[in-house]
Symmetry: D2
Subunit: 424 residues, 4 copies
């Protein structure tokens, strides 16, 4: 963990400027009828989960270029996640991936407690073959033509639930790579039915206080068809399984030009929005840092979430899911968590009453200007003030770099050599 | 109509070559275990509807360049449609658009009977303002914020049903342009709810032996959001309305790269595939001639339809829906109807038993090769033989050109001058 | 024009708040080493041209819904453009489209002077057929297979130059719809060569102090191929024609997911960036208001322009080019001009020295954070202060609405009824 | 290699049917004025290169699922390539990737001669870090900010040329992954200039009888910008370097909806089309089997190539470049080579004279119908006859499976366990 004195010292250097900016913003918002303290309180209460695998350097099928101090196991990952939460105050939980993060539950609970974290949704993995696995997922997992493979995949998911129960998780996220690379390779309908059957068996094993999240994706790793290719199929799945089944939206898993905030609105309308994997993309499932490419789109998603706040049973799970190929993952995750908070804060600033009036009157210009005014408000002082008040860093990246954490862990974690991705 | 002697003469000139090609193909198919006569019989029994508006020259928002002999009204359109069916034998019905095609029902029935056609689904129009209309659809129709506008739009649809009953139609197709051009212009969820309410009122007025088709479209004329933007929303609508509500798939209304045949398979699985608007596209809703850009994609759609043939209550409506900007619409519609037949015939050739085996064994290469073998079979002799046997033309375009039909109607139908589209 | 007293009164009501926000921002920027006055001066010196056709309500191929007070001719359009510049101070010039705006040059000059405007680039129109035109552009214009049609199109462009010379324009923009709707319809190479030949004849007629802009577009109105489909073809054209030929970039004319700022950088590198048609898009050439969909993308384009500022012969022309289908065009154009200024102001705030260091060190995180810091700065007070200091409105839309301009012109300009677009 | 008796036996079983189909097709083509023997001769003279890396199972960043008998080194790969050529007669050359295929040149030459192959273009690799490499390519190679990294990358390319000279290659293909994942990460123009400089140094080292191919790609592995992102940048590079520099087109490297055959036509017009990497794609750089997704698009590319046949200095290099994730790579490469031949044969069937007439007359319908007639002709008998006449297999996959080659090599080549791709 980072020395709290260092954080405090860093914060003190920025305190006066922050106070001045915060007050100026507070006055401006007050004129707009917004109480800056109320916004700050909501932001301070907001958290987004970190995926355990996010703290390692990612890669592509062409190559992976590891950095210094790559985490060796789930305990190293929890250390890194602890640092992120310590400096941002925005990431109170961690989502594990099985079997990558398999370990003794008691040790996991102890470690998480030690670094101030709790466990979010469990993630199963049937898109890779693992050491000691009896049957291969080369040709699919939950939708495989061979019932034995499907059974193996179901049992793996049930095991994930078991592990999750032991460490306090309350949800299972299922993403599969099942699909096909050629027209005709699979019977599209039969494959979907096999998937539904297998998911039904998992749902049957779901504890009554858990939720099941299924995740759609247009393509990759399958390049002609994917069994859960879009939110329409995902909705059919959630409807088929039952009331504790929900749809998960990964921002990078859609067709070019898709209106994602509209998909979010539809799933809310259907009562089936389970949660998010936040990231950003320009081309495909690029898994870039949240808000890096199109921050207005992220704001528009949060605009829908703020509209839905307070609906019965509306409690979507929020997680980052990114691939950090050229940055220090800890730095990227810190800034991404802040980008999510920023979008939330901006969405809270929207003058809802004025907007409703413009919408009713079909005053498109003033309606969109109302959103824009909220979006272009620089809410950085609110986010920074929320951080400093809870002992996190005003400038998390500066504090992190000043701490020397990366160099320190690189001393004990052995260097990893670069490696080709899937193509070699 | 075209002189039947002319058709017979044209056909006689091609009879010997056609017989030779048909026999050679028959032998080849026989080796593959396929009875060419059975395929020909299915093709001969297949028909696709013509949209009345398709026989006029189309245009873009930039311009429209009419040709000679543009139809003046619905009766001219029925004449043109009659010619298409006479020469192809593949287009036994016409779909009307109200108010464009409003006319005395008795005269419509008589005219249709005279040209050998019947009436397919009715189409309502609430995406334009019409002469004498009380309220404008500028800001929406069935989902407008003003209840009076919604009521006007509902009543227009009910009137379409009334007209349809009088002329023997059995279905109503609803496509609206409702949506928004700016983030925030509409409350995405509230707009959807208003749409559902209004559609509910239309559904309530649907005769018990009618079907209601709703059509999704990603964008255009609305360029930020569209109330029925994709098949997911469309499915929610059909589920909401009831068992006689179905989803209509226009091949050009999807996101870039979308796997359309998979959407078809999912809607079949949900029991909600209502029918098709056939056309082709490279970029957006280009409304190009069916099969003009990607004939294999069309084949893959028909592959799903052939798989589903014989399912209970499976009777999707087939219609062409194209914009003919640079060709004679009659010629384009004839060739497009034949392209649809071609895809159907090719899909019938797939060796289903072999394919199922390859799929079960995950032999992706042979599975896709099985589809490819069917697709690359030149089924032209089957289609031409089916035509000649029913008195239609072996080469419809040649017969049409030989007939001088276009020049003849241009004598009585006045020339239309070119005009700008929406931008001027 | 708007009563200047009204503007002054409106501005006085907002003066105190504006001063407070401007001073707070000035202090914040001062800490970042930025002189707010220098930024304001650059913004105040910046202008973007208005297209004359932009002040009329636009439409789609499906419909056009005119509003009250549609301009009847170019003189009405100049009135509307004068109001836009009066209230924003950001749009000092107007771009005419021939033959839509054909009129006596002396009267045009006088009118422009009267409303405080000058004339920007001339636009030719060979994508529509005009009354009295000898040959049709149905199958192309500058690239038509018929030399007589090409000659007619060339002569029209030469006439545009003549008109432009008479009113003080210095550039010709050529956009054509030429292309094809079917594979094989044209010989792609021969069509390009015919286009190059015809453009060569236009270039030969270009005055020595003029520039020639060619505009690429992926598709629409042609839906299979377009003769100037992308910046690569556009570059080949500019290279072929000569040193006064440049490429024009319309933000909405690219493939899905294209990195437009990179295209801008490449054209700058080639010395061939001629200028912009600003707008925004989510799907295709949506012609939405600039910055309405992805304001960060607009900022990234201006980031490239600020980098290139001061290069020899670097003087790109800036114009708005939008279709206002659901808003008052005057309002949309005012806000869009301000959005362009906003992106420019934000790009001026980028800490270039810090950024260069991060780039050199491959510190991707801090490099992108440097851009983000500039982007999220709310520069509204700078833009508003620049406006008020020149007598324009602090809040142009509020002043415009208070003025009653639209209602006033609707008294004298007759109502236009709604009309179908290209499809009917 | 495969036992020639086995091939002969297999062929004999199919000889009679093949002869019958060939004759029937010959008669049909004769009626269309086409000499089937001439077409067969051109097809028989056509070859496409195999990439050495294509014979190993590919993968994605998520996983790789190796099959039995994965090649251990370049000599195993040459064995596999030899089998492909033996059975198809269509793949006379192999393209090596350095350092993956580094080996003693004399042994390489001997091995190639033994299996009946020659060497095509050399491929350098600066998108991965290799064992023993001094500097990392994590942040770029030929365009890196550090001159030492650029120099290392240049020297690697020069070494590739040296190796190529020793084994009889005559071309170097350069593809780099350089780009950025974040706006601002790189100075887009400066990065391009560094790339041009480095490529200039490689070009300086190019033997006078060699060609240099640069390959553009929209994205992946860089997800915000790529230094050679499209054909426009690629053209600028080839123009900058000199007359032996050409652009390489990989069919999967373009934006969604791009008209690839038009890009081909433009590069031919510029005299800069260097060659192809053939594959197919539905979403991104999917690297699926050639013709698997959109066979008509492949035909349209070959249509442009046939038009350009015979132009001075027109000799594009043809290579397959695919990732075989779920099929036996040998089988996929055999069928893909045949798909390329098929598209070529179909393009040869186009009635050029009729087409030119329709194009001149703007008869779009008949022009596109002329292409379609050629495309839908089942040329399989021509391809099979060409194969059998040279001792290759009428049905290569059947012969391959009958031979037991895969099982045989799996005996000597050790099993490879499944592995995660870049993400773990």
């Amino acid at each position: 963990m980072i020395d709290t004195d260092l954080i405090a010292t860093e914060n003190r250097r920025r305190a006066e400027d922050l106070r001045r900016d915060y007050d100026a913003l507070g006055q401006q918002l007050d004129r707009r009828g917004v109480d800056i303290e109320a916004v700050k309180a909501k932001v301070a209460g907001y958290g987004v989960a970190i995926p355990s695998w996010g703290v390692g350097t990612g890669g592509t099928r062409f190559a992976r270029f590891p950095g210094p101090g790559e985490p060796r196991d789930v305990f190293d990952k929890l250390d890194d996640c602890g640092v992120i939460h310590q400096l941002t105050g925005a990431t109170p939980s961690v989502s594990l991936h099985i079997p990558w993060d398999k370990a003794d539950p008691a040790r996991l609970r102890d470690k998480a407690a030690a670094v101030g974290l709790r466990f979010d949704a469990m993630n199963s993995n049937t898109f890779q073959d693992h050491a000691g696995q009896a049957l291969s997922y080369r040709h699919g997992s939950l939708s495989h033509t061979d019932a034995a493979v499907r059974r193996q995949a179901v049992e793996h998911n049930l095991e994930c639930i078991e592990i999750g129960r032991a460490i306090g998780s309350r949800a299972l996220t299922v993403w599969v790579g099942d699909g096909s690379n050629f027209p005709g390779q699979t019977d599209l309908s039969a494959q979907f039915e096999r998937y539904l059957d297998a998911m039904g068996a998992i749902y049957d094993g779901l504890p009554s206080d858990w939720r099941l999240f299924t995740e759609h994706k247009m393509y990759e790793p399958a390049f002609y068809s994917t069994v859960v290719q879009d939110w329409g199929s995902n909705l059919m799945i959630a409807q088929h399984l039952g009331e504790r089944a929900y749809c998960l939206v990964d921002l990078g898993h859609h067709a070019p030009n898709a209106n994602i905030e509209m998909i979010v609105a539809r799933l809310i309308h259907a009562g089936k929005l389970g949660g998010f994997h936040f990231n950003d993309s320009k081309y495909g499932d690029d898994d870039l840092d949240t808000g890096a490419i199109d921050p207005y789109r992220l704001f528009l998603v949060f605009n829908e979430l703020v509209i839905a706040e307070g609906r019965a049973d509306f409690a979507p799970a929020h997680m980052l899911d990114q691939s950090h190929n050229v940055t220090d993952p800890i730095e990227s995750l810190m800034l991404s968590a802040i980008e999510v908070q920023r979008a939330y804060a901006q969405a809270l600033l929207v003058d809802r009453q004025a907007l409703a009036g413009y919408q009713q009157d079909n005053d498109a210009l003033m309606a969109t200007a109302t959103l824009k005014q909220a979006f272009r408000t620089d809410v950085d002082p609110i986010l920074a003030m929320a951080r400093t008040e809870r002992g996190a860093a005003v400038d998390p990246v500066a504090a992190y770099r000043a701490s020397g954490y990366r160099a320190a862990v690189a001393e004990t974690r052995p260097a990893v050599s670069g490696a080709g991705g899937g193509i070699v």
